[in-house]
Subunit: 360 residues, 2 copies
């Protein structure tokens, strides 16, 4: 057990030589995590991801911006890769554009999520590896079944295990990290130790969903993860590409299990075309209340569209703009620099484990 | 922080002198956790609870049975209390019967859950403390709001913080322990350090929901809990009062986020009278599929009632008997003695924390 974990850390440091451990990753939040946020996370010793999501139209610009920001930083990289990653929502992203940009900009990692099929995930993986063999493949999963499907079919370098407390999109049906991470770890362990893993290398497991600070990060490590992903926490960073109204709502909301909900409602009115298998967690607002009270989709969509003209005033419980956020939103109370968030959290994880040990 | 935790452990050892730490608690699973299970958990250095739930009709018998089982065990107790607890689902339990039995049998703890109102919870608490001042009051909550309401109004000795991965009943809307425990800890901390706690004593915080083994137990400690509750894991103990069909289904189910679901469906067909605020997590079966496919309540109830005659063959995905279980069900693969489960888990928590520390 310990040997396996040690080698996971060694692999991480080998593949992403600029990082410090425990590894903190910046989630590829769609069109919110752009070059500024990704670079700041990496400069702080984490791995920052640009969130292209379904939209590759401006990705080239984001990569160029990241190159400029990274210019003077002298982060140690491997084989000339760019020391950030990029995330795609596979079902909606243009594979040809994505692959050509992977080839051109050589990000250290790609993060795949929600492919339309296993065949599609295999295609993305193969094409990405062809385009830039040094770019590591991260695959986000939300169940044991998804995890083992991804492991068997694509041999990912990293499995991002997302629990149902995550903000934004994920499996509609799921479990929290507390039970999901150990079960995925055991399934992966069994596959590689008993079945040999079909010649592939065991993926590093990284946890996402509900982790906003050092206690939850430490918990994820005890559950079996070798690193953690921050999403909601980074919404309240200076570098996030986010409206003030959205950010203020993240700061305001507390008791996240009660004030956020996983639902299709916000997708529906935004016409996002997500499959029935997925929904998204966001702060409950008027759109959601109206939908629960039986308002029809069209009327709700019309009211939402009107609200988009209200600017920052469109966010809040009594308003309609969508605030995707995880159930840890109540632990986010202050806007800080992304680098400070990453460094502070990383520096406190050891102390949390020590205190837990001390009270046994 | 460390001092507070040290004193929580000291308080636990003072109030329940037979325990060993880290504290492992056996959940008061309604009519499944009876004297055999409760006593076995306590004998292993945990705190076992009898699950009276809504039904106090045989509780006297259970207490008597527990007395016999405890007779030769010589567990160190405090002021002659019985070294087990008893759990009530307050909205449905008879307060007069409950209080008279608390007075007579003096359990070390009572566990309150789902009162019909704050006033009712206050009444239960006051009457229980009057009947037996040595009996500690545990209150189960599922949100920050519930937690602070309970703390302010009833000054519980223990707050049991239940995450949404829990099996059986809980708040219909909730968060996993990964975000819920830290937020509750912070709210309690603020109330007592900044606001003085209105003269009350800070409750010990214990985590429930999705914890089936040492990794999740260690995670709960890092999140801020001073002890953990086992529910689903103990369904697969020799001492659980459970049908073979139910237990086999717990052993069979895996990938708990996918194969269990929080729903009102199982309550509806069993006419349990639970309020809309609560639902329950159970393994998905034919009842649930039919309900999702639009089958009416009456027909579904009729088919369920028929199935109750099938005995153990009534459980399983293609059948209709309800298998309440948490999302950690996939980590439960073997029937063991409850004492062995508790001792094994407790003995491994320190090692889990050490390994997490070693890979930083």
């Amino acid at each position: 057990m310990k040997e396996k974990k040690m080698s996971d850390v060694q692999r991480l440091k080998q593949d992403y030589p600029w990082i410090q451990t425990p590894l903190v990753v910046g989630a590829p939040m769609r069109l919110i995590a752009l070059a500024d946020l990704a670079v700041e996370v990496s400069k702080a010793g984490g791995i920052g991801f640009i969130g292209a999501g379904t939209d590759t139209s401006s990705l080239s610009t984001y990569f160029q911006h990241a190159q400029r920001l990274l210019g003077a930083s002298a982060l140690a990289t491997k084989n000339g890769t760019m020391p950030i990653g990029v995330g795609f929502i596979n079902w909606g992203a243009d594979i040809d554009v994505a692959v050509s940009l992977i080839q051109k900009y050589r990000p250290a990692a790609v993060w795949f999520f929600a492919p339309s099929s296993t065949a599609s995930l295999m295609q993305w993986t193969e094409k990405s590896r062809e385009a830039c063999p040094e770019t590591k493949v991260w695959v986000q999963v939300g169940s044991v079944q998804e995890a083992m499907g991804a492991v068997r079919e694509t041999k990912p370098d990293v499995l991002v295990v997302q629990g149902t407390d995550a903000g934004g999109h994920g499996l509609a049906q799921g479990a929290g990290l507390i039970s999901l991470v150990p079960e995925v770890c055991d399934a992966v362990e069994t596959y590689f130790s008993r079945d040999g893993g079909a010649g592939g290398e065991r993926p590093v497991i990284i946890a996402a969903g509900g982790i906003a600070e050092q206690r939850s990060a430490a918990a994820a490590m005890t559950l079996g993860a070798s690193g953690v992903v921050l999403g909601t926490r980074l919404l309240a960073s200076y570098e996030a590409n986010i409206s003030k109204g959205y950010r203020d709502e993240v700061l305001r909301a507390s008791d996240g299990g009660q004030t956020t909900v996983r639902t299709k409602v916000y997708d529906t009115l935004r016409n996002t075309n997500w499959a029935a298998t997925h929904n998204a967690r966001g702060v409950i607002n008027k759109t959601y209340f109206d939908a629960m009270d039986g308002m029809g989709e069209e009327e709700n969509r019309r009211l939402y569209t009107e609200e988009t003209n209200k600017g920052d005033a469109g966010w809040g419980v009594e308003n309609r703009m969508t605030t995707y956020a995880g159930s840890a939103v109540g632990l986010v109370k202050e806007v800080k620099g992304a680098g400070e968030i990453v460094r502070e959290m990383r520096g406190q994880i050891g102390g949390v484990l020590d205190r837990a040990k001390a009270i046994l």
